[in-house]
Amino acid sequence: MSTKVIKRKKKLDRLSNLPEPIIFHIHSLTNTKYAVQTCVLSKKWRHHWTHIHILNFDFSSFSRRAALGKFVLRILRHRKPFNLQRLRFHYGYSSSKPPPYIKKIFKHAISHDVKELETELYELPPCVTGVKL
């Protein structure tokens, strides 16, 4: 090759240049909150998180319960309508009283053909039937 690329190993952004399916999978494996936070990294990252196929909501990454609710509803509205491989909803304690937005989450999951569901909530909405728990 006549044009030689100057090797500046330390400054090479290889993460942004990974194949997109790999980036989407990386996002799916992280807490969804961290996945969304990557939207400000650069223009390339702005919409990457919307391709997640695993939703991982964890109350421990929020100091206010209301913030989690707001976050969850936004995610459901903005993620691309792909099928869901897994939904993990960790509310922080085994409450018999699920949060008010729980129905929306599970309805979303079921309408997107969710394969696995993980939650510590005892009382699940009646729409959750025939899903691997």
Partner: protein, 172 residues
């Protein structure tokens, strides 16, 4: 046999060792490895070549250096059925690949990710993807940019607007 990888072995295509067929793989930088077919077919790509009878001559492994290919072969050897006595031992061994402590680890994981993607090795792909996911966890935007050498192409105004728009994701 402790390892099936032999650098600079014959490049005459497939050979046999006992009753085991050997495949010849050549890295991007010209290193040649002889690998048991039973091991190399952990790669879905190579398995497809074997099934289609296309693995009779040297298989070029594009975009993968000899150094990385040696690591991939090490991975295959450990994941061969019966290579380790139990799942716990395997997980312990895998832990050297699933944590990224510094930029050198990070670059190795990128190399392995690209190799696992090209050769289609689901177990290695999963392990390396998890490693990157774990490295992202809990890092602030600036820490992520620094660690992964990501250069922002937003101006200050654009970034502020985006943060505001996604404020719900940045709330604690």
């Amino acid at each position: 046999m402790s390892t099936a990888a032999t650098a600079d072995a014959s490049s005459s295509g497939d050979t046999t060792e006992g009753s085991v067929r050997l495949l010849t793989l050549q890295s991007e930088d010209g290193e040649v490895f002889e690998v048991k077919e039973t091991i190399a077919t952990q790669s879905v790509t190579i398995k497809g070549m074997v099934d289609d009878d296309c693995a009779t001559s040297t298989i070029p492994v594009c975009n993968v250096t000899g150094r990385t290919l040696a690591m991939v072969i090490e991975w295959w050897n450990k994941h061969e059925i019966g290579a380790v006595s139990n799942e716990k031992e395997l997980k312990e061994w895998e832990s050297q690949f699933d944590t990224i402590d510094d930029k050198s680890d990070r670059d190795d994981v990128y190399d392995l990710l690209m190799a696992a993607n090209y050769l289609n090795i689901p177990t290695l792909l999963d392990c390396c993807t998890s490693a990157v996911a774990e490295a992202i966890k809990g890092k602030s935007t600036d820490e992520m940019r620094e660690f992964f050498d990501i250069k922002s192409d937003f101006d200050e105004k654009e970034e502020d607007a985006l943060r505001k728009e996604n404020q719900w994701a940045f709330e604690n």
